[in-house]
Subunit: 195 residues, 2 copies
């Protein structure tokens, strides 16, 4: 990972608080969705299957000290202008975004930014493959779904969220394994017919 947080603290200002005891979610087993994906990417790289990387979180520097090299003394995180992940697999360009929700019946579209939709549309236009990894953490179910489906839902704007059942029907549930724990390429192969 590119950004190392001190004391292992979660730093996202958007961390949802959940004080209820968690059941079987991946998070509960000590791995956030991001960690699961990073671990899978590492496995795919080490085993020459595919090469994906997480874009570092961009920061905006307010103040820096130049007296000894460069020490950043005041800065804050910025939104990624694209998506979090991209890479190359089977000679193709892939781009994807990962999102978690604690809701059980729908995935809120407020989780996705306009510029991410535009970016993914551009990826597809240039012949790349785009998908989402959506984690229903309370259900302990993680889906891979074609970005085209999400883009269509987003552009219709009829609803503020996508029903869980629509994602279940149009996506592929990832069966958790040993190594990698989250073999998301199984879903990618399936939705894009890459077997």
């Amino acid at each position: 990972m590119s950004v190392n947080y001190p004391n292992g603290k979660k730093t996202s200002p958007k961390v949802e608080k959940n004080l209820k005891p968690k059941a079987l979610s991946a998070a509960n087993r000590g791995m956030s969705l991001e960690k699961l994906i990073n671990a899978a990417n590492e496995y795919y790289k080490m085993n020459n299957i595919g090469l994906f990387s997480k874009r570092p979180t961009p920061i905006n520097i307010v103040k820096a000290d130049y007296s000894k090299g460069v020490r950043i003394t005041n800065a804050y995180f910025e939104k990624q202008s694209t998506t979090d992940y991209n890479g190359v697999y089977k000679g193709k360009y892939f781009d994807f975004e990962a999102k978690s929700t604690k809701l059980k019946t729908s995935f809120p579209l407020s989780n996705i930014y306009d510029h991410q939709i535009v970016h993914l549309q551009n990826v597809i236009k240039h012949g790349g493959f785009a998908f989402f990894i959506i984690d229903f953490s309370s259900l302990n179910e993680i889906y891979v779904i074609n970005a085209s489906f999400i883009i269509d839902c987003f552009n219709k704007k009829e609803r503020m969220s996508i029903p869980y059942l629509d994602i279940k029907e149009n996506g592929v549930l990832i069966k958790l394994g040993i190594n990698p724990h989250l073999p998301f390429l199984d879903g990618v192969n399936s939705i894009f017919d890459l077997a």
Copy 2:
């Protein structure tokens, strides 16, 4: 760009000092190599030609203040674990690194890190296209060159640098234009026969 430096200061600890008056280099016209590439990427995106992005510079956070959102109070830049740029063009995955040298007769291989070579080898292994943009700033000449050539030179380790003439012979000199100012895809089309 993802990292905004205060006061427009250059923050890289590796900035070379050059106190001699500069002649015709791109830098002299107020644009660093990074800015030239970012401007070309923006042009290629807006004109639906290709989609490339610069990976934000990763930072290592030593201390952060969580009292109001997240404010980073002590951090420093880390080396990119991959290369600076990647993207999709003509349905293919592209990955590249840009380097400048003030030398006139050779390009020092110390500019390139081992892990970048490994990353580019992986890109090629998975069917992606990899190249370097090399700026001989004192000569005002910018070349696009197949990463395979640089990787071979790097792995031989016979020399600490690649002679300028070898780069001139094996790369493609980019003819600067109006828009984009650095049409590096002309070189990419040529070295990979993508016309």
